[in-house]
């Protein structure tokens, strides 16, 4: 799941397959994902993993790293 999300972010959001995105790297404060893209990411998560995030949950605090996203997805499954 983590690798699938990693692939999605590097290939579809920042369009840079060579980018070595780390598990604990800041996505939002690190400037990889902005608020528009975060919504797009939530849509992708819902499609692929059947987990829905409400808008208020889409914050830097909840979604800033791959680790955080994955643990939030797992908590909802």
């Amino acid at each position: 799941m983590k690798d699938q999300l990693r692939q999605y972010i590097v290939n579809h959001m920042i369009h840079d397959a060579s980018y070595k995105l780390k598990d604990d790297e800041a996505l939002i404060t690190g400037g990889l994902v902005d608020s528009f893209s975060l919504v797009e990411l939530a849509v992708y998560i819902e499609q692929e993993f059947g987990v829905h995030f409400d808008d208020p949950e889409l914050t830097a605090e909840n979604m800033d790293t791959l680790n955080k996203i994955v643990s939030n997805i797992e908590a909802k499954q």
């Binding site: 920042i14 369009h15 840079d16 060579s18 980018y19 070595k20 790297e25 800041a26 939002i28 404060t29 690190g30 400037g31 990889l32 994902v33 902005d34 528009f36 893209s37």
Partner: protein, 556 residues
């Protein structure tokens, strides 16, 4: 209108001060000086050579020559003969000769150039590139046959006639030939000399190329026509050995030097402290920052580095200039600290207003106040004036403006309306001082937020591993989002994947943390990828197109 032309001015100089030093040319490890008489005698040889060609008054003569005596004398030789000279940028190391020759062909065909003066090494290449076009190619080596008659001018040229063309760096598409009349140039010299307090004791020292307005006007025509000494070196030479500029100032007791902003950083960082030694810069009364956005940090760096050499802080001055006004539009005040304005970033981006703040904000350095006989107004998209501290397009009206763009009436009509020239530069006025915030078409609008790409580029210059000044930021329209994405292309020195990711991570973090936006694309590229205009500015549209072709639509 002034009663004199540039030709009259030269005639007077030759009568009143023929033996005064006119120009010192710095060559590798050496230098030589020509008096006014010697300089114009050499220019006369070019005039004599041009007489052998089949030309008429007003014909366009383009100089394709390396920086040095030939291009200087060739320029005056053509001008004094009543032809219209224009200096073409010289082929640089990184340029592909084929595309260089093809850009000359484009210019010759579009502008109806009647003659080219070049050197033997280029003769063949130019002949091939210009095959089928009616243009005469003259080489410096033909001078020997044209005889040594001293300068004498009996031609009838009026103040309204075109003196020369400056080719304004049209970054994309065709270059624009800015037509300047004798009257406009003489007016600029008068007004700008007053603004900088020019006197016969001044000595101008310059490394600037002559195909660009700052080098051509401030670093060549003003000193010569004003009868003051000019010390000149080649930009190629200076780039490799930046301290030659400062050593020339020291040796010749230089008083005035014009520099683009990057040169302040370059000089401050590229010259080791150990090389400063006895360097004395106390003779300089003005280093004038002009022709690219001015940064307080660059000045600070420069002062920190060279204060020990006697650099006097109020010597740092600023100017806003463009070929379309011959050169200067504004100039900061003599002998006074520069005006610096710190304004709220959000109001600047979202509301096009410059709201002063005492906190963290965007720091802008004033370009000074309009020179004499030059009016400025700031206008909105409908070209209606806006009030103080509101950002808009800068329009100007003066007695040193262009007549129009050569052979481009449609372009002239777009930008000259009711006597006002609309510059395409964005800025605001505050207490009579002009602040430049960017360029109209450079503006990136991301989700309704206005982003000035220079602001982002400035954040990136000191990142380890990327070449300073070689990062380009531009907007790429995102059809899906209906707005622009920010793309950053930066030249990097490494092939190591981990290092490359680390650089990209740093770029992204800086943008995210210092602006309201996130960069969508951060692309590292090889050295020399980023396209600059002939005047050294980032050619944003050209870089955008190149980026789209290479990275977004490869194969298309």
């Amino acid at each position: 209108m002034p009663s004199a032309t540039l030709i009259d001015a030269v005639r007077t100089l030759l009568e009143t001060q023929p033996d005064k030093e006119c120009v010192t040319l710095i060559t590798h490890g050496d230098e030589y000086t020509l008096t006014y008489r010697e300089f114009f005698d050499r220019a006369a040889r070019y005039a004599n050579m041009l007489k052998t060609a089949d030309l008429q008054a007003g014909d366009l003569v383009v100089l394709v020559l390396q920086h040095g005596e030939a291009v200087m004398c060739g320029f005056w030789g053509a001008l004094l003969s009543g032809y219209v000279p224009s200096i073409f940028p010289f082929l640089s190391d990184k340029q592909n000769p084929e595309s260089y020759f093809s850009s000359i062909r484009q210019l010759v065909a579009l502008s109806g150039v009647k003659a080219i003066i070049t050197s033997t090494e280029f003769e063949q290449g130019l002949k091939q590139a210009l095959d089928g076009i009616d243009v005469q190619i003259l080489t410096v080596e033909m001078l020997a046959q044209s005889g040594d008659h001293p300068f004498s001018s009996d031609i009838s040229i009026g103040v309204g006639d075109t003196a020369f063309l400056q080719h304004s760096s049209g970054s994309t598409g065709l270059q624009k030939g800015v037509m300047l009349s004798h009257g406009a140039v003489m007016n600029q010299i008068a007004s700008y000399s007053t603004a900088i307090g020019l006197s016969s004791n001044d000595v101008v020292v310059s490394w600037l190329p002559l195909y660009h307005d700052m080098g051509l006007i401030a670093g060549f025509i003003i000193p010569i026509v004003s009868g003051i000494k000019l010390v000149l070196m080649s930009p190629f030479h200076w780039v490799r050995d930046p301290q030659i500029l400062l050593r020339a100032i020291h040796r010749h007791r230089g008083t005035l030097c014009w520099l683009p902003n990057f040169a302040y950083n370059f000089l401050a960082t590229r010259i080791p402290d150990s090389a400063l030694g006895d360097l004395d810069l106390s003779s300089i009364r003005a280093f004038i920052n002009c022709s690219e956005p001015i940064h307080a940090e660059s000045h600070q760096l420069f002062v920190e580095k060279f204060a020990r050499c006697g650099l006097y802080e109020n010597a740092l001055m600023t100017c806003y200039a463009m070929a379309e006004n011959t050169f200067a539009v504004t100039q900061s005040a003599l002998d006074k600290p520069l005006h610096v304005d710190t304004v709220e970033r959000r109001a600047l981006m979202d509301e096009q207003r410059a709201v002063p703040t005492s906190g963290d904000g965007v720091v802008l350095v004033s370009c000074g106040q309009p020179i004499a006989n030059c009016d400025i107004k700031i206008v909105n998209e409908k070209r209606q004036p806006v009030s103080e501290r509101h950002i808009g397009e800068i329009a100007l009206r003066s007695d040193s403006m262009l007549t129009g763009y050569y052979h481009r009436p449609e372009l002239s009509q777009q930008v000259i309306v009711d006597g006002w020239y609309f510059t395409g530069d964005m800025g605001y006025l505050a207490d009579g001082e002009l602040y430049i915030t960017g360029r109209k078409k450079d503006l990136i609008i991301v989700g309704g937020k206005n982003i000035y790409p220079q602001d982002i580029e400035n954040l990136l210059n000191d990142i380890d591993g990327i070449h300073a000044g070689r990062a380009a930021v531009f907007g790429v329209f995102n059809e899906q989002l209906g707005t622009e994405d920010i793309a950053i292309v930066a030249e990097a020195e490494t092939d190591d994947d981990d290092t490359r990711t680390a650089i990209k991570r740093e770029i992204r973090a800086r943008v995210a943390q210092n602006t309201d936006v996130t960069a969508r694309y951060v692309q590292l590229v090889e050295e020399k990828w980023v396209i600059k205009t002939s005047s050294g500015k980032i050619a944003r549209d050209a870089n955008r197109q190149k980026f789209i072709q290479e990275f977004l639509q490869p194969g298309k």
